[in-house]
């Protein structure tokens, strides 16, 4: 399964061991030994799951249903507290997915994404539900851990000087046009 792929540095360890060059039968045996050892190693070590994209979760929802997944993205909009739990929506730049989380896991989240702020980027580990029984069939993740990956910030708005020039020019032209329009209109009506 894709979510249980080991980190690259861990995967490289058996390859590094292959650099020894014993001969003939011992070579075959040792290769087999390393092969068996590496299988055992992969099956027993705690794996670090790579974050899955929202698109991967949505397209292959049945495959990931009720599985533990890692998901990384920006917290956007409101943190909606419902008793001891809360809903947060986390956007990985493709889609936003709803995260159902105990309140204590999100107490460190300071910024949520919106027009005036970039939200905190978080890594969530939790159980993915294609159609959550608890939440009326919503596709969601029930969080077990939430780690803040990158802190968000307030976004400073810099007015575009080009837009200012265009807006002022247009307003002056419009004001002149309005005055000319009403003068012409009253002249036509009098005539």
């Amino acid at each position: 399964m894709k979510l249980l792929l080991p980190r690259p540095e861990i995967a490289r360890q058996p390859l590094a061991a292959n650099k020894q060059k014993p001969s003939c039968i011992s070579c075959y045996r040792s290769t087999m030994l390393y092969f068996v050892w590496s299988i055992v190693f992969f099956l027993t070590i705690p794996c670090y799951a790579q974050p899955l994209s929202s698109e991967e979760l949505i397209i292959n929802a049945k495959q990931h249903d009720n599985q533990s997944v890692n998901y990384r993205g920006e917290v956007i909009g409101d943190i909606m507290v419902r008793g001891n739990y809360a809903w947060i929506n986390v956007n990985d730049s493709q889609n936003a997915i709803g995260i159902w989380t105990p309140v204590q896991l999100i107490k460190d989240i300071q910024y949520t994404g919106g027009y005036s702020s970039a939200g905190d980027w978080v890594v969530i580990t939790g159980i993915f539900h294609r159609a959550c029984r608890q939440h009326g069939g919503d596709m969601d993740i029930h969080a077990a851990t939430i780690v803040i990956d990158t802190k968000g910030s307030r976004l400073e708005e810099k007015p575009s000087s080009f837009k200012i020039k265009v807006a002022i020019s247009l307003l002056i032209i419009c004001l002149t046009a309005t005055i000319i329009y009403f003068i012409t209109l009253s002249y036509r009506k009098r005539r």
Partner: protein
């Protein structure tokens, strides 16, 4: 012999187009106030530029084409069809300047989708869009839902006989009150009263759901405008799924339903005539078609075990169905999740989208009255075969009053139905030419032409420009219900070939 249009025709069309353009510019003042109040400087500049260009075009048109003549039928229809295109171009300016659209075509797509109350969207990074731009996206749905011309009529025009021609051109051939201006003002009254009540209900639900009070009421107002005008935009990228709330979904279902019923029926309900609700042919047809299409969706989803519980099936299946049937386009699932719905459920949703709501409402598509008339005509024909030849037969239906079924009504209903079916299939054909599968192409095409807004994933910034243009045209033609578009085409042909 085709007669070439006179310069006078162009002058009158230009003059009224100018007036409506100024009206569109005035409406941009609403997001300007919002941007000022919230200190959003760049959005403020975007809208000032939009207003400037709208006023400039409007003043130029009214000054160059000045006339005191009234519109005739042809001119009225052409004004309507052109003003929707002009509104699209002008309304797209502030959206394009926001930097959230890949191209001006995408911004035009968004604006036409808004004005036509479709709800298909090409916005990028919606979750970081400013409040002012978001308000504009929803406001254009409110304006388009009432009818751009009706807005201009009720607010900027004291009354003239050409009003009815433009009113009809916007696919509103029923007068709630004897006078068109009074009718359009009544439509506004209904909408504004429901806006206040709907925003309050959604805002309070939002606060209970844990949203910040300001956001709750802002979202409440936006969602109301999108639901009542059967639009389908939402301030967040997840659409209604963002709220994770069953009560919120129930309230939006009620608002969508209110938006899908005839304004004439609203008038009767307001005056206490609740019996009309049970007797009206449109309401009966709506109940019948919702039941049939929901059965299709439910069987389809049940067979594939897409939603293992009944409540889930209702919250997902029924919500998407009502959203499609009323022409709203709110989604509580991701677009790509329609992949796991199966063909039968998709066909159910496509049928619901293709049928639509009531006439003289904010919905698009074929509409219930036409379906009802076709059924009655079929019933009459079957009866005619079974009864003796000399038997005198007449069929009646109840729509506000008892109406005798005439051939003229049947012909008109069948023609419009045929045009819609053609429009759905042309879009599907273009979708297939662009490489999408048939059922999904038909789904998206029906959604665009019926002004629904449900998406199975085809509508995205990466779709071909030809498909974007096709959907824009489908939304425009579908919203205006063909007649004014055919008149415009006839006018162009006459200008080229006429003598």
């Amino acid at each position: 012999m085709i007669l070439k249009p006179h310069l006078e025709d162009v002058q009158i069309i230009g003059y009224y187009l100018g007036k409506i353009t100024i009206g569109i510019g005035l409406f941009m003042l609403v997001p300007v106030i919002c941007a000022c109040a919230l200190g959003e400087i760049n959005p403020l500049l975007d809208f000032l530029i939009g207003i400037g260009i709208s006023f400039l075009v409007g003043f130029l048109l009214t000054a160059i084409c000045f006339t005191d003549r009234d519109l005739n039928w042809m001119q009225g229809m052409i004004v309507v069809s052109l003003c929707w295109l002009l509104a699209m171009l002008l309304g797209a300016i502030p959206l394009f300047l926001s930097g959230h659209y890949r191209s001006f075509l995408d911004a035009c797509f968004e604006t036409m989708s808004g004005f036509a109350t479709t709800g298909l969207t090409l916005v990028q990074d919606l979750d970081h869009l400013s409040y002012a731009h978001n308000l504009w996206r929803h406001l254009i749905m409110f304006i388009g839902g009432q009818g751009i011309v009706i807005v201009a009529l009720s607010l900027f025009v004291k009354g003239f006989s050409g009003a009815f021609k433009m009113y009809v051109g916007e696919a509103r051939d029923e007068r709630v009150l004897p006078n068109v201006i009074h009718t359009s003002r009544f439509i506004w009254l209904v909408s504004v009263v429901y806006l206040a009540l709907g925003t309050l209900a959604l805002g309070i639900t939002g606060i209970i759901n844990g949203m910040k009070p300001f956001n709750a009421f802002f979202h409440g107002a936006c969602i109301f405008m999108a639901a009542f005008d059967t639009g389908g935009f939402s301030p967040q990228s997840q659409n209604v799924l963002y709220y994770h709330s069953f009560p919120f979904e129930i309230i939006t279902i009620i608002i969508m339903f209110l938006g899908a019923i005839n304004f004439k029926l609203h008038y009767h309900l307001w005056t206490g005539n609740f019996k009309e609700l049970a007797k009206n042919i449109e309401m009966r047809m709506l109940f019948f078609t919702v039941t049939i299409t929901f059965l299709l969706v439910a069987i389809g989803l049940y067979k594939l075990h897409t939603y293992p519980q009944a409540l889930m099936l209702f919250r997902k299946g029924f919500y998407q169905l009502i959203s499609g049937h009323t022409g709203t386009g709110f989604q509580t699932i991701y677009a790509l999740q329609f992949n796991e719905w199966g063909d039968l459920a998709l066909v159910g949703i496509i049928c619901a989208m293709a049928l639509g709501g009531a006439v003289c409402s904010t919905t698009g598509a074929i509409k219930m009255l036409r379906i009802g008339i076709i059924f009655r005509a079929l019933k009459e024909d079957v009866k005619r075969i079974m009864l003796p030849e000399k038997a005198v037969l007449f069929e009646k239906f109840h729509h506000i009053k008892e109406i005798f079924l005439e051939d003229k009504q049947v012909r008109s209903a069948l023609l419009v139905t045929l045009c819609y079916l053609l429009l759905y299939f042309i879009g599907a054909l273009v979708g297939m030419l662009c490489g999408y599968p048939f059922l999904f192409s038909l789904f998206e095409s029906t959604s665009a032409a019926a002004n629904v807004g449900l998406s199975c994933g085809i509508t995205s910034v990466t779709m071909p420009a030809v498909l974007k243009t096709t959907y824009i045209l489908q939304m425009w033609v579908g919203r205006l219900e063909f007649m004014s578009i055919f008149t415009l085409l006839g006018f162009i042909v006459a200008a080229i070939k006429g003598k």
